[in-house]
Amino acid sequence: MKSGSTRRTALVTLVMLLPGLAGFFGLFFYPMMVTVVRSLRPEGVQVGWTSEHYISFLMEPRAREVILLTFVLSVGATLLSILFSVVLCLVLRRKPQGNRFYRLTMLIPRVVPGLIGALGLLLLFGSRGWVNLFLIEFVPFIDEPLSLNYTVPGLIIFYFWLYFPFTAVTTLSTLEALDPAIEEAADVSGANRWQILRHVVLPLIMPGILAGSVLTFMAAFGAFSIPLIAGGNYRPLSVEIYRQINFTPARWSAASARAMIMAVLQVAFLSIYMRILRRPVV
């Protein structure tokens, strides 16, 4: 039964959605289609269809390594972020001294352009950076500088530094939104600090943690300027795309194909992740 007001409500809703949809289609979807089309064309040509770019990349033995590397870096950084954020937020919740300052500090990596942060980390962990100087002087069995910069663990640390704020911020807000009555109830029932943490607090804030970690993962997956200047031998998928553009002549179709593969992988992983998120947490 359609009444006038229902139709009007639907119309209003549609109108309200229009700017968002227009923006989405015009600024993202259509350009995306242009890229997809290009990835299916032979290099440098406007007509004809081919799937050679996809096939040739996926057939390459290195392709598997590159994809694996991208995942390892993103997952590693995300796990580290979760671990660190949980500890940090539990500490900050009690509002220790300087708490406002530290909450601000949490935002710094997101406020400053990633490249500058990466430069600082590169200098800090370099062979003459303070970290190595410290290790050589104060740790007895280390005489040679540790090569951290151009290694996988090093990259994971870089990614973690740059993207943990996403996780930290949502964890903190979820934690603070928690009703203290629940914890009080557990406390009164005789649970000690650790038990409350493990069985009450953590399960309740898990959705928030995971939501924030999604953002961290997405950012780490798509990061390219950082591995470009600090990646050395390890070139994740994003750098692969740029490699194609730097050939003579630039291989835009190949680059587009790799970009599409990257996009598909990211969306696929995220869907799985969201599925896990949606499972009831009991």
Partner: protein
């Protein structure tokens, strides 16, 4: 009903977008026009020119008061030079405002391809040699400066013709004016090395002395040093061009024993470099500054300028390798065909000005970069205290002429050479 309409509209929109995206880029039309151009030369001689293509008269055009120069070649040292010395000189000389913009090659070429005809916004580009064949490969048209525009750019005749006709083994048919010649040399830190090698073969023989301290950039780096270093190395062991100077096809070379030996030696050479190989030259210079890398092969002007400015240790020196040292990123000035016609006369004037003796001499005395024009007798002698005289250096100067080889290194180098 509501829902279905929703979905239908959505599908139609998506479909139309996909179809539109397929027909995306129309081929640029070539605009043909007659242009009456008035050019004022510095000694206040008025010269009227008429460039006739097809009859389509245009009313008199005004000379532009603002022009954009896009720099795809200069490092930080030269950016300083351009902005502090060259641009003010141009502005003063021509009474125009110059917008100087530093950009990246791939982005710029991509955007040039997307220009509407006659609406290009980069009027003069200063590029690396490889950019010109790349532009041609992408279908970007450049004005032929030599010999077509010799009247507008008389100074271009002072440039060596070979450089105007080919770069990196490809014909460019005079599309670029040579602004500077860059030279690679052995760069070493005299704090750690007192008797550097004087030839590639000696460098290879004595590699054990400096194992772990040799700086070699990754073969797939964006920098030209990625292929210049291995190319020069190979050149010391095998000829890659025949007697007429034509490149020998890679397939042929790979059959020869000489090549295979040379390639094996090259792979061995990479294993004694400082690991991990620096991704780009800035990373390599950080290694120099840390004292981890003692010796490498790179653009001489960059190293000397850095030492002069204090961004590299004062003990840095340049050396000579007798079999051949690769030419560096020679600097070319190009004028795209796709810019508005009224900008072209001014663009030619500026190119001519940059090739003038005064500007070229300033280049070599301030930045220790070899000039694009052959005016060696006009250069003050004090320059030769710091850098080798051109006639001494030129026999060892190696223009990269075998494109097959350099392409092969760029594409497969990462797989085959990195230990």
């Amino acid at each position: 009903m509501n829902r279905r309409a929703f979905i239908l509209v959505g599908l139609v929109t998506i479909l139309s977008m996909v179809l539109a995206a397929c027909g995306a880029t129309p081929a640029p039309e070539t605009i043909v026009q007659t242009v009456e151009v008035e050019k004022t030369v510095v000694e206040t001689v008025e010269v009227e020119k008429e460039v006739v293509v097809t009859a389509m008269p245009e009313p008199g055009m005004e000379r532009p008061t603002e022009i954009t120069i896009v720099d795809l070649n200069s490092g930080a040292n030269f950016q300083w030079y351009w902005q502090q010395q060259v641009i003010p000189a141009i502005e003063e000389r021509f009474g125009v405002t110059v917008d100087y913009l530093v950009s990246g090659e791939s982005e710029t070429l991509e955007r040039m391809k997307a220009w509407q005809p006659g609406e290009g916004d980069a009027h003069i580009l200063f590029v690396k040699p490889e950019t010109i064949p790349k532009a041609f490969g992408e279908g970007i048209e450049l004005e032929t400066l030599y010999p077509d525009k010799v009247d507008a750019i008389p100074n271009i005749e002072k440039c060596p013709e070979a450089y105007l006709q080919t770069v990196l083994g490809t014909n460019i048919d005079g599309a670029g004016a040579l602004y500077w010649r860059s030279q690679y040399a052995l760069i070493y830190n005299s704090q750690y090395i007192e008797d550097p090698p004087t030839s590639w073969q000696e460098f290879y023989e004595r590699r054990g002395e400096w194992e772990g301290h040799i700086g070699i950039v990754r073969p797939d780096a964006k920098s030209g040093s990625s292929y210049r270093i291995p190319y020069s190395f190979l050149n010391a062991y095998v000829d890659m061009v025949d007697e007429e100077g034509n490149a020998i096809p890679l397939a042929e070379l790979q059959e020869t024993q000489e090549w295979q030996d040379a390639w094996t030696k090259l792979q061995e050479f990479y294993t004694v470099a400082k690991q991990p190989l620096p991704a780009e030259p800035p990373n390599m210079f950080e290694d120099f500054n840390a004292g981890d890398t003692w010796i490498s092969f790179y653009a001489m002007d960059y190293a000397l300028w850095s030492r002069h400015e204090g961004t590299m240790p004062p003990t840095i020196k340049a050396g000579f390798l007798s079999e051949g040292m690769a030419a560096g990123s020679d600097g070319y000035l190009i004028v795209p065909a796709g810019i508005p016609e009224e900008y072209k006369p001014l663009a030619y004037d500026i190119v001519d000005f940059l090739l003038s003796d005064d500007q070229q001499i300033r280049l070599i005395t301030t930045m220790w970069q070899y000039t694009g024009t052959d005016i060696w007798d006009k250069i003050p002698g004090v320059v030769w205290d710091t850098i080798p005289a051109w006639e001494d250096m030129e026999p060892a100067r190696l223009r990269i002429s075998n494109k097959d080889v350099s392409d092969y290194i760029k594409e497969f180098g990462a797989d085959e050479l990195i230990p």
